[in-house]
Amino acid sequence: MNRRNFLKGVSSGLVLGGAGLVWPRMPLAVPVSMGPAELPAGTLEASLLEALPGKKPLIKKTFRPPNYETPVAYFNDLYTPNDAFFVRYHVVNIPEVAAQPWKLKLGGEALQTPVELSLDDLTRSFERVELSAVCMCAGNRRGLFQPHVPGVQWGNGAMGNARWVGVRLRDVLNKAGVRKDAVEVVFDGADSGIAAYKTPDFVKSLPMWKALDENTLIAFEMNGAPLPHWNGFPARLVVPGWAATYWVKQLTSIDVIAKPFEGFWMKPAYRIPIGKFPNVDRFITQETAVNTPITDMVVNSLITNIEEGQRFRPGQSVDVKGMAWDGGYGIRTVEVSLDEGQSWRPATLGQDIGRFAWRQWSYRFKPARRGKLTVMAKASNRIGQTQTADLILNPAGYHHNLIQKATIQVG
């Protein structure tokens, strides 16, 4: 056993298999997948299962800043457990924030009355709103781009589905008064870069229309519990349908401003080429002639219960399971193909828990013959968008929504 496997062994007790997750009491021979083989070789070599404080072992992509992805087996559940939810940070100073004396400062030149809110103010003064939504890093599956592009080499696990509880950003802003010249709302969290070197602080902005959307929340609960430290305690932004880059964690300030925000993490970071993707939501004040900030997620799916190459007995039924999601229009169908995409059959959709959440699906079949068989899955949404057969290349590796494939071995 080489050193790397040893590290993987000691840092994890997690058994990943098609059927789910168990914690072994005895030493076991267990397959541990660090992600699809299409990831860069260096990514697979450097990955290991590692538990941050308060978290289950997750797939470590980088230690500092901490970037950890959720093993796909967890996605067989409708909701992703808080202690298995992925972790993504851009800068290295991540303070532990206590509920008190934490204050959220609202200001900016286009806000009428600057105000400071405590956690109690926030939770007691505004209507409590609950919704289920997918939180997915813009760069999820970046590591699967061919050719590879630099960045955190995420596999499939920089995402999760949770029940969020919070208050509407709109209610909070309206109470303080939004001036007519407001253009964008700017969000900063407690995390920061290395001050001596002026590493750009992670600060994001939203267009007014999205900030004032009834579903955009300042959230303080996740799956019925306070937010975990690593996922934004005590309060984070929830921007349903949009990439998680906007879901600023450990919120400290919200500023309503009268001209477009200029900061590294808005421009040039988190940009997609204009006109390449079928996105509906626009962020016009940030658009340039050639690119635009990433906005809503494209329609997508994942097979969650099949390991690549998994063996099935002849005559045995195969249950394929997975989930599908999009930018908040809602999943209309998930279809499965067993003949390389020549014909497609509808999968059975699971419970609809809201258009921003993911939708589980399943498909049962009996393979007709022995040998290798490729199962393909393709989701479509209610505005007629579907997954792509050819990857749409872009410099930062966003919006990977290829039709999904898993190859099984029968006999």
């Binding site: 056993m1 496997n5 040893f6 590290l7 993987k8 062994g9 000691v10 840092s11 994890s12 007790g13 914690w23 072994p24 005895m26 030493p27 021979a29 267990v30 397959p31 541990v32 997948s33 660090m34 992600g35 699809p36 083989a37 860069p40 070789a41 260096g42 990514t43 697979l44 070599e45 450097a46 990955s47 290991l48 590692e50 538990a51 470590k60 992509k61 980088t62 230690f63 500092r64 800043p65 290295v92 050719p147 590879h148 630099p150 960045g151 955190v152 080499q153 870069g193 290395i194 001596a196 070197y197 002026k198 590493t199 750009p200 590294f264 040039p268 390991e307 690549e308 190459g309 190859t407």
Partner: protein, 91 residues
Amino acid sequence: MKRLLLLVLLPVTAAAADEGQIRLKEGAGRELVESNCAVCHSLDYIQTNSPFLDRKGWEATLSKMVNAMGAPIPKEDVPMIVEYLSQYYGK
């Protein structure tokens, strides 16, 4: 089998891995790379972004680190760092 499967035959013990265990490949320039890059981030950023960047790709990365992220890398160290990264973590 396309996906990486690793057989782990060990009992579960409490031992946390950390970035101190990262060892970059031996070679001319390794210490220079470690001392410059690890000031701001763990060295697995280099490992994980390999081996697919060519020299131009590593040059662009260095340029981003210095110009956008504020990395305090002395100008005279840049060529050696690019050389090491291209040779040991390049395509």
